[in-house]
Symmetry: C2
Amino acid sequence: MPKNKVSHNVVLRLPRYLRYLEELRVRNVVRISSGELGQLMGITASQIRQDLSCFGGFGQQGYGYNVDMLIKEVSDILGIRHERTAIVIGAGNLGRAIIGKFPFQQYGFRLTGAYDLAENLIGEQIGPVAIRHMNQLATDLQSAPPDIAVLTMSSNSADAIAEQLIAAGVRGLWNFTNVDLTVSNPNVVVENLPFSDSLLTLNYYMTHGTNRDSTDK
Amino acid sequence: MPKNKVSHNVVLRLPRYLRYLEELRVRNVVRISSGELGQLMGITASQIRQDLSCFGGFGQQGYGYNVDMLIKEVSDILGIRHERTAIVIGAGNLGRAIIGKFPFQQYGFRLTGAYDLAENLIGEQIGPVAIRHMNQLATDLQSAPPDIAVLTMSSNSADAIAEQLIAAGVRGLWNFTNVDLTVSNPNVVVENLPFSDSLLTLNYYMTHGTNRDSTDK
DNA sequence: TAGATTGTTAATCGATTAACAATC
DNA sequence: TAGATTGTTAATCGATTAACAATC
């Protein structure tokens, strides 16, 4: 569908566009120009138009973009239309937070299972799912592998479990453990989200100053 | 301390260098060349040398880099040496996960408080801290504002609380809510970590294929 | 219509990669 | 010493910004 090559940087900005557009919709804003949106997001109007033009012409000269329509378009680009299934591996506090609070539906996902090793958690109902024991995972995967798995268990089992999931046909890994997963299968997509990297980035700028562009002597 | 301008991209890679180096140390690897490290991380040797050279010459011709020494240097660059204090706002599952599991110490932080609105949580001890009521925050901030605050409460109070924290002297915000915080004060650093962006990026590549570079017809 | 704003092409800027002399 | 690998300069590549004709 994309007209040209779409750079990774563009892909990273798309979800942010969507968030800002949804906030505009909440505020009952009907139309927005690239100039206004850029000001809101702290980026140039040029960049917005350039980014969107990778996927089509969604605006109108002299008018700008219809917020509702652009939300639909960006959602489609991000694949939200495809209903996908997800399971969560690990029902500790992080797993619970994600199972209970994360709005999977809003992003086109349906939560179909959650797994943990701790006996005392098995059977507990959180949000839409009941926690099952890890030793049931293999069987469950065989009957109906989910599209993605959310990894919130401890880092040391990450590689082995990832391998098992991929062998069963899981096509996406949303990885909250602190080890980068690298997967050879080119049909499997991995998104690593190491919290520590984010804190260290914060710490860097607290230490060296936030003047990313200024001429520091 | 940095010799030249340090681009944001470089800063984003530093924590990842640190993670890989620490893994090498665990595996008792004493020295590593930019070539080997690059292969491990999936980036070019040139990039590693270029990145590190922003901060100094840490290697040795014909030898490469001493792992231990480079860990120290990168840690220093990232400001881990500075002992900093942190509080967590919000003691729901996500807050608990972070309070209980995140290795703040390893990154130079000391957790000094946690706050929530829910009466039934007040006083509960998690890891090193006892949960206090949000209405004590103002007083606590007055006597000893922390260096950073970790925001894990619901998005709708984010702006107001951020403002309160900054007014009290907090210099860094590690923001897990789903709204971007933008802060006018140039001395305050914000790191937004919206989970949804990450899931949508995953979804994009699942939808369009992961061939970031291949010539897609 | 006149004004506003798009999509796109061209110009600029910055980041990554390649190359190599220096040297451990 | 010969081989390996750095730090750095130069070349390439890609991403962002600027400009503008097209047009709602």
